[in-house]
Symmetry: C2
Subunit: 500 residues, 2 copies
């Protein structure tokens, strides 16, 4: 069996990749396990140098990477150039995390033999979880793929990585792997601390391999749930960090509609159709006041949109079916469609209807991946609150409100906080900054692990596990736990946080 | 259907408790969900006062609680009095956690409109996960039960709690609940922020209730795995923090055996039979040098042990069967048995044999709950390392070694770190201090969530979920994220940790 690299625009076959057999996946995982001590012994400073060398290697190959990824995904050179910069930026950010040292969460409790019961000397730190399996995303061929956030945070944690390439960009995956390996070797590491597998059966074998101790996944609800259930039904269940589907409701209050309708119509239309609506934080459901005319004000923006090529055939087929299904919902009207193109392009769609449709139509609470958004119109605050409360777990909720609506805003924030990982105010959810304070996660189905994030520095904690050393002879202590604190780590001593 | 409180020593029925129906569990969970805003609005200072009032109420009722728990579990007054103190101490420790504030993990990233891409103002903090279901443990009627560590850490996080009482101590559970509620009411909170359910069906309904967002569980591998799988197969899977079974290997190196054999024989025998071997960190597997005579040196301690009453009939039946099964393993010899008693008491057992038995007998890698331990004798360092590498995930690994054996110790530590949450040096694993640096967890089957702990202050993170506020108007920010830092929290600003 083979995986073909396909030109997204023409549909033509480019190159062929052999599927990785389950036996080969086993060998990759064994090798990954054997290499764990290499990352561990490098320590945080060594791994920081590794990540920076990988970032340099990616940057040095940006032109070549972008050209191949553009052929495979049709995402365009501007976006893809930005995405490679984001990807090398992520690697460098995790190098900062390693140098800063808080990720080890070192805690030292002094012995107190006179206490009741007596207290031993206890020293606790985070250690790597083990080999990590990473599933690449279709829609981010760099930032959420072979060298993306999951790989960067796993390597930072000290975990070796086996990546399952996304079938929509196998050539990009192979090229990225080569860049990462060149970087690793330049930093004195074996290149195969990151490895690559192709094909569906390989993905299943990866989740089931006993050496794999955690999975990072970004993709659909269907595929993610299947692999999640597989991970949980192993003899040894393992953490499955899956980012699945997200509706990203956006609320426009009466005050905001009154004062900023045209501005919101333009910004929201742009956000909903950016990258052909193929962002996990695309605002897919808009709650607007009935009679505000928001949908009509958005119409001109949608009508002017050129037809768009999606990431690949399965994505286009999914969008076409999802759009048709939604257009057929009784009570939902098609307010605008973009320009139409050839059979390989899709047309943007704007639908609208009364918010009461949510009571009977669960479909409107599911993500439709692609350039489509649904505006539901509410009568009064209670109907708005009821609609927001019906939303499932989501990566983001966005609130556009007026300064005089604090009481309403507080009510909506309480509802939004219960079901989202990020609350966006008077702006748009697309554009996920990578930094220390980012949270990219949320209750199911947004993710399968609501206590974690897949973007930002806190993502490293997904691949770490605490270990306490009790009464350890000084000569046997790891550097992070030694009295002289050779790595100058922030540490918590007897409950008190101490900066180096 | 009813649950009977049984006197552990006599086997006589004490009192009857109606099983909570699934419908009643639904009502408890609805109420728990409705009460979430109460804990949230109290803020960390309010919840700290709540936990301290609960601790005071437990302390005030120690005599009564201990008497009932002793009747139901036969654990004895001394142990149970210590355990109530530990339990109120845990509640007070989480009050400290609330006042210290790091649990909110506040991160503030400044806006930078000139950056590429532009950076918004991002402020991230932890919020409560929602209603938590807690399954009480048989062997800790206080510290891991109704008012135990799971409940304390969940309340600290701002989560209301529905506890499934353990069927071996329903009266203790009801009394503890009354104490917690008295404390809550004294602090101005509704008593039913903690609720109680009885019976197996109630436990299943609790795991399946859509309002429940996480489960804390301490118990057997069989029961824990069943409930874990149930939690993962919900329409919305939820975190399942289960502490299941732990072998707690203890290694004695040649150097330690040579210099401290009698001391280790005494300490290890005491640790393995403390509380009738009913601790989750009981050393159940000992790896000792062949010919060292450790098992024979332990024999006198086992022979002198009085017969013991276990926690209840199912525990005794499980131990009797498990001990018989192990005694029948070909090649394993019974080195010593304790004194025998009546049919309601069990006899301590010490078994020994060659370490090569591990290659053919998986049973020796499973926990046997009760006063039994197995000494396996190794020839040389490679056989020792191979045996340790065969151990499954475990809460602890203990290493007794000599100062001249650093190289061997390093090799063993590397193996131990990969499979345990706590490494104990030249001491014994029983006696789990509750503090900032404790780690009570480990890879499966020790727990179902190896990145977390169920003991110590870090346990609070199991019940928290991060949320980022992007471009939030100052008037709508929660106190933890305000510029003026009204709660004096440690916070990370643009990646830099700042102490208040």
């Amino acid at each position: 069996m083979t995986v073909w690299s396909i030109d997204a625009r023409s549909g033509e076959r480019r190159t062929e990749h052999a599927e990785t057999t389950p036996q080969e996946v086993g060998a990759l995982c064994r090798r990954a396990h054997d290499l764990l001590p290499v990352l561990d012994e490098a320590g945080p400073p060594g791994r920081a140098a590794l990540l920076e060398a990988m970032a340099d290697a990616l940057d040095a190959r940006t032109g070549e990477l972008v050209a191949v990824a553009d052929a495979e995904t049709a995402l365009g050179e501007v976006r893809l150039t930005g995405e490679t910069a984001r990807t090398s930026g992520q690697l460098r950010l995790f190098a900062e995390v390693l140098r800063e040292g808080s990720f080890l969460d070192v805690r030292l409790d002094s012995a107190d033999p006179g206490a009741t019961p007596p207290k031993p000397d206890l020293r606790r730190m985070n250690v790597p979880l083990g080999v990590v399996g990473v599933f690449s995303a279709s829609n981010f061929p760099f930032a959420f793929s072979v060298g993306g956030g999951d790989t960067a945070s796993a390597l930072a944690a000290g975990c070796t990585v086996v990546v399952k390439a996304h079938p929509l960009h196998p050539d990009t995956s192979v090229l990225t792997l080569a860049a990462l390996r060149a970087g690793a070797e330049a930093a004195g590491f074996p290149g195969d601390i990151v490895q690559l597998a192709h094909g569906r059966e390989a993905g299943i074998a990866l989740v089931q391999d006993p050496r794999v101790k955690a999975i990072g996944f970004t993709g659909s609800v269907g595929g993610g749930r299947y692999l999640h259930d597989l991970a949980m039904s192993r003899p040894e269940p393992i953490p499955f960090y899956g980012e699945l589907g997200s509706l990203n409701p956006l609320v426009v209050t009466p005050g905001a509609a009154r004062t900023r309708l045209a501005e919101i119509a333009a910004g929201l239309s742009a956000s909903a159709t950016l990258g052909a609506g193929q962002f996990c934080v695309k605002p897919g459901l808009v709650l607007a006041p009935a009679g505000s005319g928001l949908a009509e004000a958005m119409a001109e923006h949608f009508t002017a949109l050129d037809p768009q090529v999606l990431l690949g055939d399965p994505i286009r087929e999914g969008f076409t079916a999802g759009a048709a299904e939604r257009a057929a919902v009784p009570g939902l009207r098609t307010v605008a469609t973009g320009r139409t193109g050839d059979g390989r392009q899709v047309t943007a769609r704007l639908l609208a209807g009364p918010v009461s449709l949510l009571r009977s139509c669960d479909l409107l609470l599911e993500e439709c991946f692609g350039p489509l958004t649904v505006v539901l119109e509410y009568e009064g605050e209670d109907e708005l609150a009821e609609a927001l409360a019906a939303a499932p777990g989501t990566l983001t909720v966005t609130l556009h409100s007026g300064p005089e609506e604090e009481k309403l805003a507080a009510r909506l924030i309480a509802l939004a906080r219960e079901r989202a990982g990020r609350l966006v105010f008077d702006a748009y959810p697309t554009g996920v900054t990578v930094g220390w304070a980012q949270q990219h996660g949320g209750p199911y189905p947004a993710t399968t692990a609501p206590t974690t994030t897949s973007v930002g520095t806190a993502a490293v904690f997904r691949f770490l596990r605490p270990v306490a050393y009790q009464n350890c002879p000084p000569a046997l202590l790891p550097p992070a736990l030694r009295d002289d604190n050779p790595w100058s780590l922030p540490r918590r001593r007897d409950g008190v946080l101490e900066l180096p």
